[in-house]
Amino acid sequence: MTRKLFATTLALALCFAGAIAENLIFNPSFELGVTGTGFIKILQLESNPKQLYEAPVVDGSTSSLRVPNRFAEKCELSFKEFRLKPGAQYTFSAAMRSSIPKLKINVSVTSATTDKAWGWDSKSSTFDVGTAWSRKAFTFKTRGPWPNEWYLLRVEFGKEKDAPAGDLWLDDVQIVEGKSDAYVGSGALEAAASVERAYYITEGGDDVAQAVLKVHNDTKAALDAKLRVTAVEDSVGVKAFSKEFAISMKPGEARQLPFALPLERFGAYRLETELVAGTTPFASHPGFVAVAGRYERRPLDIGESFCVGLNIGAAKYVMPPDQGVVVKPGFRCDGRSADEHLRLLADMGCRLARDWGESMFRWRYCEPKEGAFDFSGVDRTLDLYARHGMSVLPVLGHGDFIEDTSVNGPSWLEWLNAKCVKVEKSGDWKRPVMLPPLDLWRRYVRNIVAHCEGKVGYYEITNEPNGYLAASTYLDYLKAANEEIKRTNPEAKTIGFCSTGDLAGDMEGFLGSCFKLGGLKYADIVSFHPYDAPNLGSVKAADKQIAEAKQLLKQYGDGKDIPLWNTEVYYLRGTFGPQYIESEKHAPYHVAWRFLTDLGEGVAQECFLEEGQIFKNLLSPHCAAHRLSQEALSGDFVVLNALARHFEGAKPVDKIRWGNDCVCYVYERDGQSLAAFWSYGDMKNLKLKLPAKASDVRLFDMFGNELPFPEGAALRLGAEPYYLEAKEGFWLNPFSGALDKKDFVAMLKAGVVEAERPVEAGAEARLVPKNGGWALVVSFRNCSGRDLSGKLGVQGEGLVGLEGVDFVIPANGELAVPVPVKLKGDKPGKVSAKFAVDGRLLDLPLKVGPQAKVLRPGEPAQIGPSTIRMERDGKALKLSFDVKDASPSADVAGRSPWEQDCVELFLDAEPLANPVRYPGAYHGKVARLFLMPYAPEGQRLLVKPGDLDLGGLKVSTATKAGGYTAELEIPLAALKGDYVGFEAQIDDADSVRRHSSANWNSAGDAYKNRHSFGFMALK
């Protein structure tokens, strides 16, 4: 009390002096308990053999935060994010004391961006804290300019190897602009609603959670206010609960207002507190609670029954240096103990754990010294999983073949690294790898399988090997592992290949190469990571990729039915951010999509998601690069719980496409028919009509909430899947139960999806030269469910549509129609497609790119300082390049063509093709050519033709002072129409890599976007 009175007095004095700034820390004196903080602790095995996890608590006697650390473990306390100005001075200060005379405390203030070019802005200071309260402070200046204004405060201790055991008390934490370390409080009415647990398992109905609204009047005046607490489902936005609290509070008073939170519907709820009456400054922090259903754990063989699985790494074992932040090894607890963590996942319905990431199965942990195996970590992991009913899938070899040259040190331990053969630029990612001797690899596999007999039935051999190993090299290790597995435990299954589409990995290409070499002899199951085809609406559709993989299995499988397992895909949206945390972001429905698609397409098992993804970051949502403790569960938890309860053990029956990007998968589970359906496109306001009776079916939302079935009416269909179950005796047939299932499928097949509009325009319209003028190619699809005819026109800023073009389009079909236009500039503004359909004129906005260049015979064009010219005779086109490049790229062996001096050419034989979705994506008739003057003779032309036959190409190159020339002759027979899409890029490399490139029409994205090409006139 004396300490606080002193601080307040000082603050008031400074306030009158006009020097007080705002304290940016929420709940700085912990009157709201631990609200607004997160905690990670790395447990030590030696000092804490029972692995007790002790979290921070508010010390009732002093109303300060006590961070217990009797086992001398690393503790990391984080605070809710706050905004700092770039290039400004701030001061951190806090009152601290310890249970021991000297406790070393590190305080850091950090901001991160997902842009590698910016990196981090982190300021820190270290303090020795004694047993008496004292105020510690440090002043820092933020980086400026800096793109992210959001910062995070961390208080750490116990990191060092010789760190003593000792608790830390913390109070009156503050960050203010300027140099002052005098505590001023938040100056606000602070409030936060919370519940006791992160999740509740409920049967629905009358269940309630005991919630509490904590309020603290951290102002200098008494106040009257009214607060409202609302519970809103986080992903679908449905308000589930609201309650108002009228309060009268004295200055400095803290109060707890309990209330009952109904748990009527499954979902992940955000508890927001807002000030609805009163004028006081106000600050709050959301609470979060997941409400899920009771999952009944049944005996389950992951080889037989499709279930909910996750990538886990249960041990969360961290080992130095781990990016330099770990000094001593230990087991990380992200806000709860490992056992509590696994219990949470088990309650959700998780039955399969791909032990990956921070796994104890890694070679370095199992054989820390050559020949001396230590499976204590493995045993601990297995014990954890077994206690919670999960089967474990270890990944032998991990991803550790890749040579790690970072601060982390080698992936293999030094003893093993020394025995490896190094290969540079291996696999799709061209990574350096360290290949261990096969006999040692066999010994590692043999020992681990022997040790885990009876506990582990499946082993996956390495993670994503196509990224860093050639197919033949991988097969050496797969074959050896499989032989050791079968010899040691004939019941165990080998999962091979683990081919990935991540980072431009060629998933199907690797499978094909391995299968062609007989690789299927060495695996019982084929695993894959469909990063390049995560869902049905991605550039490459998930079902298409699965079908291709299955076709390869059929082709090379020797008649065997080899199961396909999806063991990882963390990026479910199909769009990628600049950093993995951005790419991992998704909505809960994406999780349901992937699960239901895999199940529906006949993938035998999945564990695609990483367990950390099912948590919600409430402390630093604007600072995505921070990994924080896992207090709040997201909607993923509830969706996975519903999937486990409704679809575990189901088998695929049928697949129905209703058009308008809507899909319905039909399944069977324990003799019961069920289905899941959703819209994977971006069309809005879709309505589904199903000819079923409400008495025959049960309808659920993606969280498993039962919904009234709209008999005779339409169901609004969006991205969130619905589940439909046939009630027992569905359309009762007294003669055959099988017919019931047929009727269920027939009913679903009779479903009709109605769109808001009869047509939808594509993502991008493209200007193309046509008949001496220009036309705008508009793509659209027929969403009406019937054949349509009409006229299409375009109008807008910078252009005039010259005529309405007649079209006929089949139901659910797609068309690309060139509409003649008159241009009034080179960059159209707002443009609309005008559809005259059914006597109405629909006006749909279009995105139109700029007018592209056209290369015409005899008209030279510039590409930077270089020149291109095209000539044509009756048989061939001749392209001539005069390239100004005074510094030739030297030895080019082993370098990608674009990493050396070369002319890149891009040809699109079907430039009018303009798909509704992903219009700029390459199609089969796009070719990419490289004219490489410094490559060996006979290798100066490289063509990546797709399905475009450019037979008869002739190339010649010649170097000269200050550059080189190149000529390419293309037979006219290879190209049809009046124009082809065309782009040229001059790559300029030095002796190491490409350092610049010049483009004729594009902005350098021609390698992935054919809409960035210009055109070449053929006539």
Partner: protein, 310 residues
């Protein structure tokens, strides 16, 4: 005058006054009309007095439909039809009237000849304001069966028109021409639409050819400032002089602020005894507003054609 004398006379007139031939069309431009050299362009500096005209003749086949097309502009545009076209076919005369515009507009006149032989065409000015009138690209072309199925209305999207619409005129009883071609990119395509300020009466098209017994359709897109009723009709009313019963179809439609397509269909009667006007094989379309409710309506994409019944 004997045929030989007539021919010699015609040749003499062409030699003196300037002549041109287009698709068999012989054009004689007598002063004050002048003809530009090497162009199918005729100009009239009109004093506002008299009826100076071009004399045109063309040989036609029996029982055949024809279209006379030309482009025309004038230095002093008018909203009322003051330019006329006399057509003498099968020994009968008719007089059509047209509005003069300040930009080049496409004009058309259709006729059917039962007997074949020579048809006389006389575009001429009617007394009024002094002005300069230019005419070019006079052309007579047969109307083929395929043409019937295309759009018979000249410039149905008004993209070739400026000012007032060239092939439309106010209906009988309408005090002033209510139509004007306005700039707009609101419709499916193009930069112009027709705007009609309905007050009393309405607008009617030029006469267009029809085949007896065939179904014809008049369709168009329209939108109004606010919901309003329009009367749309397809009518036969002989330009050579009305006889017998009036053959027509009349529909009442509601036009809304949203562009919508409307249509009016009718099968052309073969009962020429009851409807002798149909012997001329010509009909026209018209639109009229509400009697006591003035307001503007925009039109575009107007089509009159024979419906393909095969």
């Amino acid at each position: 005058m004997t045929p030989l004398t007539q021919t010699l006379y015609t040749l003499a007139v062409f030699a003196i006054c300037g002549t041109a031939m287009a698709e068999g069309l012989k054009v004689a431009a007598t002063p004050p009309w002048t003809m530009a050299k090497d162009q199918k362009l005729y100009t009239l500096d009109y004093s506002g007095q008299g009826y100076p005209g071009l004399s045109c003749t063309v040989e036609v086949k029996p029982d055949t439909y024809y279209k006379l097309g030309w482009k025309m502009r004038c230095s002093a545009p008018e909203s009322e039809a003051s330019f006329a076209l006399g057509i003498e076919v099968d020994g009968r005369r008719r007089f059509d009237s047209y509005v003069l515009t300040d930009g080049w507009s496409d004009y058309a006149a259709y006729f059917h000849s039962a007997k074949g032989g020579e048809v006389k065409l006389r575009p001429y000015a009617n007394p009024g304001q002094p002005k300069t009138i230019a005419v070019k690209d006079l052309e007579v072309t047969p109307v083929t069966p395929e043409t019937f199925r295309r759009n018979l209305l000249p410039d149905g999207d008004f993209e070739l028109s400026s000012g007032v619409p060239a092939n439309w005129r106010k209906t009988w009883g309408t005090t002033t021409n209510p139509a004007v071609v306005v700039s707009s990119q609101d419709f499916l395509s193009g930069e112009k639409s027709l705007e009609v300020a309905f007050a009393k009466g309405g607008l009617q098209s030029v006469q267009m050819p029809v085949v007896l017994g065939k179904e014809v359709e008049f369709k168009f897109w329209a939108k109004a400032e606010s919901d309003r009723a329009l009367t749309v009709s397809i009518q036969a009313w002989s330009p050579f002089g009305h006889r017998g019963e009036h053959f027509y179809k009349m529909d009442k439609i509601k036009v809304t602020p949203e562009w919508r397509e409307y249509s009016c269909e009718l099968t052309v009667s073969t009962d020429t005894a009851k409807y002798p006007d149909l012997l001329d094989r010509l009909m026209f379309v018209s639109v009229a507003g509400e009697k006591d409710r003035p307001g503007k309506v925009r039109f575009d994409g107007l089509v009159f054609h024979e419906v393909d019944g095969d």
